[in-house]
Symmetry: D2
Subunit: 229 residues, 4 copies
């Protein structure tokens, strides 16, 4: 399943107004352009309502922001793995700090995603939870100390030992599970720092979505990542 | 905002496999055809990922199955009112028995929907909760005793007094709020019974989505509803 | 059921360390002493684990901080109405801003409490939600704008119109439902202001529990309330 | 921390009417008597409101049914580790199938319990989740397939391979973590089967609480367990 080339840059569009509808499409097109220019894998995570629109229009990998631990059926207002796959997603975030999941539900959601060959990127708030996440054999784990999310202070700089410890622990325990680094990533320096610490990529949101010049900042980040291709 | 003609038939696609992606579109096209033929308003509620696809293709009203009580912003895996409106929905279900909401969140979600001129259809499990829902001045309240949902036994037949009481209470307290009848609606007889009891429409799911011949059953239901136009 | 004399002062012990175990008992004894001295009804709301201890030792009314919408049975880690009643509570808070409830669960919890003759005090974050709460016919509704809770700025002073509007709306709609005023109540002046606006009492927590001299502050508040006996 | 002698029999009182208040005390006294007679460790898990009552009256270990992932402070209607410890509990169940926890909350609750030297018994619904639970280094993990809870069909008999696999996996990965077996345990034969498969004890509820003769059934179970002392 690990068909994507590492390192990867994952762009979470959240529910930002700047990343809704046509603006989501515009941002995805920028991501596609920069990815093609630099050769660095860029994954975008639009809102559920925009998944199909984006997937039909760009050729970079699309992830959903969440799936519920359900089979298709009698569930109103839920997100099945089938629905996001049908809309064109090839993977999904799970357990983001803004969408924490029950332990049993996370387990079930990962299983359901695997049955559909959807990649899973589980977010974790500390080293212990990262190890728990890794034990589910997901595609990747993203370590994101909640207090740094959206702070502009990158975990790779402020708490580098969290990143390097998590990388070491997971690589030792589950060598096939990739480790991403989130929370506060806002510059190419932050990306370099993360990859230098052994991360296989980064996960960011506002620094790209809300940038005055999203193409510029993503280009810089991808340039930094090129050294680790 | 009450631009829609009553009675209405609301079709909840839930997360049914038979109502995902292109199959959602197919069902919506059937709904559009029957609605045009009979003059009865038919509203469809596809999954989030299918909202835009359906809205772009048919000219009947589209509702979302849920929205979260949030403004656009830093919310991962949530559903903003803005996102479903951007995708083409003109309204939303709220507080469905499969997606119950916190009281304070329901209040907030109704307010957010109103700011965007989205119609709100609040589901309620009994008369008391129907009155609470009505006090938020939504577009409509749907009374759905949970034990009858998906049962094939229509509330309008099995517990007609719940429907007539709720209609009476709400019409007296908030005359502008419409009252729909859900739970177990599976035939044109059930629709007739509901409208006879004073309901302004019905809400159903499996009886249409999983029907061997969805067009046939919806045509029968709309024919029954024509008498109340 | 309204056997208690108004106005009332309701003391929420929350999970404060200063109000756990023997310290909960100590605070309840202070409340009892001041209540007896002033003739003003004081209700204490200890943690679940302290309900019986407090109820066995003092003769003022005890409320639980929450109950779940369940019957006795196969529920692990939940709070049944029966369990808090058995422990000596005569009422319960519901839907506190730190323990928001699903609309349908709140309705069910109020019903279960009534079956056991437990008084219900529903917290609400704004006027609309206060009206919803009142429509369930609880013993009382407490209006508590969340942004003022624990702020030291009393709703009765900072937003007096919220209190007077809520009082007017509820007294008009459900005359038997009492209206309390919470959020930021921290002095006898705040109590006076609330009662002057028509409230039947106040709900407070930290200003009493964390006071250097809890007896002094409660005595002052009860003195202020005496004018409204 | 593992001061308790194995195997153990853990009795979950849930919210059963038959195990509330004085009836909880009565059942705990039976458990104490049988434990003393047989030398087998029996742990009881009363409701929050009964913890102190039971802890003051019997000399067997008391567990809480749940704790929330909070520090003492401004939390209404929650259960702090401090409150259950103060009431006399020496440990707590966590993540029971009727009280599932968020992954991050479970991690936090285990940490808080450890800071207070409270033993933690994490319930898990399958082998994968058992491994996740074990990675938090709790006192013990209880494997409980939800479909068998309260079924009268014991996991140790109906799905023995789940028990033996979980035992093997956890003993290999975290040798210090004990493995209990729950779900459907209703006779001494079920207990024998569980211990034979390598479990360090059993977790049960209705078979004891709702028994016509609780002392008889517990005596039989403890007799079966004596062979594994």
């Amino acid at each position: 399943m690990n068909i994507l080339q590492f390192p990867v840059i994952v762009l979470n569009f959240k529910c930002y107004r700047e990343a809704t509808g046509r603006r989501a499409l515009k941002l995805a097109e920028i991501a596609e352009k920069v990815s093609k220019n630099t050769g660095v894998t860029v994954i975008v995570c639009p809102q559920f309502t925009d998944l199909r629109l984006v997937a039909q229009s760009v050729e970079i990998p699309i992830f959903s922001q969440h799936i519920d631990p359900i089979s298709p059926g009698s569930h109103t207002g839920h997100i099945s793995a089938e629905s996001v796959k049908d809309a064109g997603a090839i993977g999904t975030l799970l357990n983001h700090s803004e969408r924490r999941m029950l332990l049993a539900s996370l387990d079930e959601a990962v299983e359901r995603a695997k049955q559909l060959n959807l990649l899973t990127l589980i977010c974790a708030n500390n080293e212990r939870v990262s190890m728990l996440a890794a034990s589910l054999n997901p595609w990747a784990v993203a370590i994101e100390p909640p207090e740094l999310i959206g702070s502009g202070r990158a975990v790779s700089k402020v708490k580098p030992e969290i990143v390097s410890n998590t990388v070491k622990l997971i690589k030792n325990y589950k060598p096939s599970v990739k480790v991403l680094c989130g929370a506060g990533i806002s510059s190419s320096n932050d990306v370099s720092a993360a990859l230098k610490l052994g991360a296989d990529g980064v996960l960011l949101a506002s620094a790209f979505v809300k940038a005055a010049d999203p193409e510029k900042i993503l280009s810089d980040m991808c340039s930094a990542a090129q050294h680790y291709l």
